[in-house]
Symmetry: C4
Subunit: 325 residues, 4 copies
Amino acid sequence: MAEKLKNLFSKNTPNDLGFGTATGTGRNMNKDGTFNVKRVGEPRFRPYEMYHTLITISWTKFIFLVLCFYLSVNLVFAFIYYFIGIDHLTSMDHPMTETRKFIEGFFFSSQTLTTLGYGRVAPIGILASSVAAVESMMGLLGFALATGLLYGRFSRPQSKILYSRHAVVAPYKGATGFMFRTSNLRRNQLIEVEVEVSIGFTEPGSRSRNFLQLDLERKRINLFPTSWTIVHPIDENSPFYGRTLEDVKGMNPEIFVILKAFDDTFSQTIYSRTSYRADEIIYGAKFLPMFHQLENGITQLDLGLIDAVEKVELPQMEMNQLETT
Amino acid sequence: MAEKLKNLFSKNTPNDLGFGTATGTGRNMNKDGTFNVKRVGEPRFRPYEMYHTLITISWTKFIFLVLCFYLSVNLVFAFIYYFIGIDHLTSMDHPMTETRKFIEGFFFSSQTLTTLGYGRVAPIGILASSVAAVESMMGLLGFALATGLLYGRFSRPQSKILYSRHAVVAPYKGATGFMFRTSNLRRNQLIEVEVEVSIGFTEPGSRSRNFLQLDLERKRINLFPTSWTIVHPIDENSPFYGRTLEDVKGMNPEIFVILKAFDDTFSQTIYSRTSYRADEIIYGAKFLPMFHQLENGITQLDLGLIDAVEKVELPQMEMNQLETT
Amino acid sequence: MAEKLKNLFSKNTPNDLGFGTATGTGRNMNKDGTFNVKRVGEPRFRPYEMYHTLITISWTKFIFLVLCFYLSVNLVFAFIYYFIGIDHLTSMDHPMTETRKFIEGFFFSSQTLTTLGYGRVAPIGILASSVAAVESMMGLLGFALATGLLYGRFSRPQSKILYSRHAVVAPYKGATGFMFRTSNLRRNQLIEVEVEVSIGFTEPGSRSRNFLQLDLERKRINLFPTSWTIVHPIDENSPFYGRTLEDVKGMNPEIFVILKAFDDTFSQTIYSRTSYRADEIIYGAKFLPMFHQLENGITQLDLGLIDAVEKVELPQMEMNQLETT
Amino acid sequence: MAEKLKNLFSKNTPNDLGFGTATGTGRNMNKDGTFNVKRVGEPRFRPYEMYHTLITISWTKFIFLVLCFYLSVNLVFAFIYYFIGIDHLTSMDHPMTETRKFIEGFFFSSQTLTTLGYGRVAPIGILASSVAAVESMMGLLGFALATGLLYGRFSRPQSKILYSRHAVVAPYKGATGFMFRTSNLRRNQLIEVEVEVSIGFTEPGSRSRNFLQLDLERKRINLFPTSWTIVHPIDENSPFYGRTLEDVKGMNPEIFVILKAFDDTFSQTIYSRTSYRADEIIYGAKFLPMFHQLENGITQLDLGLIDAVEKVELPQMEMNQLETT
C-alpha cells in the first residue's frame, strides 16, 4: 500500500505549492486563504509596505489613522503659530490667556489645512503667511493622498467566495467522491472560474510531508450563476482511496483550494483560497441543492444553504476493491 | 435519433456553463447577458456591495444620491450649529427668528463642508470651531470619495457589443448554418475577439436539461474593424441537425453567447453575453452586408443594418441526409 | 502557379483579420494602426462615448474644453446671481452699472465654484445662499471629474513603437526574407513581445481579396532592450515566393503588423499596429545595426537609425527554384 | 567538446532574449533588472515620457519637484499682481515698499492657488479678479494632477523580490545543480510564480555571443509562502556540464533571471529580473533553510537568511562522466 502510493506520487508533480516538505504538521494555510507564516528578518524601514498597509487595514483603523493624522498636523502647526506669535494673525489683538492663544492657533491651522480660509483669522506678516502657504499646500497634497487611498481601498479586487464549512465524502458514480461547495457571496458576475485542489499529508511513521494535486471531475466552469460543487473522485489515483476516516485522520491532511475567476464587473482577475483539515471532512453526507426554479422561470439561489448537507450511506466497496486489485 | 444525440453529448463536455441540469425550462440568461437568478439568504449587512452598487447604478440615481447625501450632512450640521447656539458664529449678533437661525446654520454648514469659507459667518468659540474643523475635514474626505467614485464609474470597462435581434438558419457550404451577427457599437478598438456559443435544451419527454457547446466556423478574429457573422455549421455533430423549426421549438432551446475581447483603448479585457431563444431564430434568412468600400478606398460600416436580413431558400437535404446515414 | 497558391491558402486560416474578402483594394489599416473605416448609423445620443472622447482627444483640445466649461458654468451662474439681484451679496451696496453688476456676479461665481470664497463678496439671503451652496458643490464635483479625467489621460496605456518606414526584401539564409524593424521609442521596459504579420492581396484578374498569415523566423522575444528585425522567410510557403517586385505590386498587397507586449513599468498589456503597402517595400536592401557596445561595456542604441538601410544584391535563385520544382 | 555544444545550441531556441549576438562581453542586464543600454537619437521633445518620469522618480525628487512647481507658479502670479498694481487688492491701501508689495502679491497668490481665500486680501477690479479666477482654476487642476500622480505612484506595481547575492553550484541528485534562491520581501501574496533562466556566454576564441535557455527542475510554483530555490540541473544538456569554475569564467557568462508572478493583493501581474555573472557563482556551497516550523504550528520565515550558504563537497564525477561518454 505504501509502495503503491509512492509510485503514485512520483507520477504527479510532487510539490508545486511552495510549501517545504519538512514543514511539520501544522496548518499551512488558514481558512481565509492567508499563509500560516510568521516573517522575521524584514528590514526595519519598509516604506514600500506603507501603501499596502493603508489599503488593507480595516475601515475602522483607516478612519482612525486619518483622524489622528489630521489632528497631529494641526497640533504641530498650532505650536508653530503659537511660537511665531499669535499677533501675526488678524482678530487676535485682544488680551488672551496662553491656552487660548494656542487654541486660536489650532483652529487657524485647521482652517488653513482644509483650505477653508474663513478669513476672520488671517496671517499678516511674512513668517505667518509663509507657514500658512506651506500648510495649505500640505493640506491639498494630504487630501490628494487620501483621495488616492480611498479609491485604492474601494477599487481593490475583493472576492467574497463562500465555501461550505465542511467538505464531504459522498457517493459519486458508483464509488465515492470528496466534495465541497462554493458560491459567490457578492453580486458581481464571475466568469471563467477555475479551481485547483491539492493535498498535503504525512504518511504514518514518516516525518516528511507529501504534496499532491487532486484530480477533479471538472476544473473550470464558464459562468458561475449559482453554486458549484467541486468533486474529486476517490478512485485508485486518489490518496483517499481505500482509506477509512480514521486512516485519513492519521495522515494529518490539509486540502488546499485555489480558485481563480474573472470579475466581469471590474475587469479583474481574482483569486480565492481556503483549506480543509481532517476535522472539517464529513464521511457519508451529501450537499442539498442551493437553488431551484421558481414558477415564473426565474432561478432562486439561497446563499444561506451553502452548508446544507444530509446524511447518506456510502457504498461499501473501497475495501473490497482493494482486495481484488 | 435520441440514442444518437446521447452519444454526441457524452462526447462533449456536458455542462460547463454552471447551470444546473434540473433548472426547468425558464430562460437562464437575459438578453443583456445577466443571469435570470434571484438571490436570497444574503447577509443583511453587506458593506462590500456598497462600492459595487455606487459604481453600477444609473447616473440619474448616482447624482440624486450625491445630492441627498450633501443635503443630509448639511442638515445634520445645521442642527448641531443651531443647538450650539448661533451666537458662536460671527455676523449673527442681530435678533433672528428660530427658523432663520437654523437657516443661517445650514448655509454656514454648506460653506464649511465645501471649504468655501466666505468668512462673513465664521466660528468664534471652541465648540463651534471644533465642529467646523471636523465638518471641513469630512467635506474633503467626502469629495475625495466622490472623486474616486466618479473615476470608478467612468473608467469601468463597458462594452457595447451589438447583436442581431434574430439568429438565422441560412445556407452554408451546401448545407445550412446557424448564424447571428455582432458588431462593436463603441468606437474603442477591440482586438483578439473570441466567442463561445453553447446551447441548453430539453429532449421532448425528458425533464432534464442538456447543455452542449456548439462548433463554430471560426472562434476568434484578430481585429474587429466592422462586423462579424458567427456561424455554427449544422452538420451531424449539431443538435439542430435534421430538425425542423417545429422540432427545435419543441426542445425549448436557449443559445448562450459569450464574447471576449481586448479593449485596445483602455487595455482591458471585456466580456459580453447574450442568449437566443426559439422565437428569436428565423429559418431561411441570411444577413445583408453591413459594410462596403467607398470610392476613396475607405470602408463604410452602417451600424443601423445589424438586423438587416433577407429571405432565402434553404437546401432540402437534411431529411435526405438522415435517411442515407 | 495560381493553383499552387490556392492550395496554400486552404492550408492556412484564410481570414482571421476580420476584414471582408469583398472589401476592394483600398488601404484597410492606416499607418498608425487605426482602421480605415467610416462608421455610420450610430445612435445620435452616445453618452458611453463621452469618457472615451475626453480621454483620447489631444491635450490642446482637452484643456480648451475644460476652460470653456469653466467659463460657461461661471457665465450661467453670473446670470443667476444677476437676476436674483446683486444686492443679496455683501459689499455690493454702492451704486453700479448693470454691466458692472453682471461682472461682480461673474467673479463671485468663480470664487464660489472654485471654493475660493474670499468673502469680500458673500451671499446674504436664502436664495443667493442656496445658489452658492449648489454652485460650490457642483464645483467640487466638477473638479473631481477633472481629477479623474486627468488621471485617466495620463495612465492610459500608450505605446510608442517605432517601425521602420520601409520594409525590405533582403538576403536571408541563402534565399531572401521580407523584413521590417521595430524599436521602443519610450523608456518603459517592454517584455514578452509577440508579433503577428498577415498579408491581404488580390490575385491579378480576381476581384476577391485574400488574407493570409505570414510565417516568421521568430514570433516572440522575452526582452526588448534594443531593436528587433522581424523576418518573414520567403520560402515556398510565402506569397512573395518567386515573384518580382512588379508581380508583388500587381497583387496590391497590404502587410498587417500586430505587436503585443507587456509594459513592465505600468503592468499593462499594450498593442501596436501598422501596415505596409507595396510602395513601402524596398527590394534589395538590408537594415544597418541600430546598436553597438561601447568600450565601457554599455550597449548604445541609436533610435535615429531605425530607417537606416543599405543596398544589397539579392540572390538570383527564385526563378531557378521555381523551374526545378 | 566544442562540437558537442554547437549541436546543443542548435537544438534550443538560440536567442529569444532580444540581445544581439555581436554585443561584446559587457554586462547586458544590471543586478536590478534594468538593461545596460544607453539610448541616443530620441526626439528632443518627449511629452509622452513626462508621466513615466513623474511616476518613476524617487519620492525625494518628486516632492522637491512639486514644491518647486508650487513656488514657481506663485512667483509668476506674484509678478502679475505686482504689475497689475497691488492697489487692485483689498487691505493694501497703506503705503508699502516695492518689495513688500511683491511679497503681498506672492501670499495673495498662494492663498488663491490653494483656494484658501482668507479674504483679508481680495481682488477688486476686473483685471485682478480675472487673474485670480484663472489662478484658482489652475490651482485646482494642478492639485487634481498631483492627486493622480500620487495615486499613480502608490498604486504602481512594485515587486520587491529578494535574490540571493550569489548563485551556487551544489550537489543535486547524485550530480550537481546551479542554484539561486528567491523570496518575497513584501507582504503582498504572490501566486502563480514562474521563472525563466537564460545564459549568455562567449566560447573561448569566438567573438560571437551565444544565448541559451537553461532547463529547470521546476519552472512554476502555485503559491509562494516562503522561499524558492531555483535549480538548473547540470546534466549533459547544460552549458556548465563538465566545466570547472575556471572554464566557466573563461566563457564570461551572464545568467539572466526573469520572474513573473500574480500579485493577489492588487490583482496585477508583476515581473522581476536580475542577472548573475561569473564572480557571483560559488562552486561547492549549498543554501541553508530560511524557514522552520515553530512549536505552535506556525512556519517562521527569516528573510535575513536569504544569502546563508555553507560549504559542501561537490561530487567528483564531471570529468569521469566526460571520459566515459
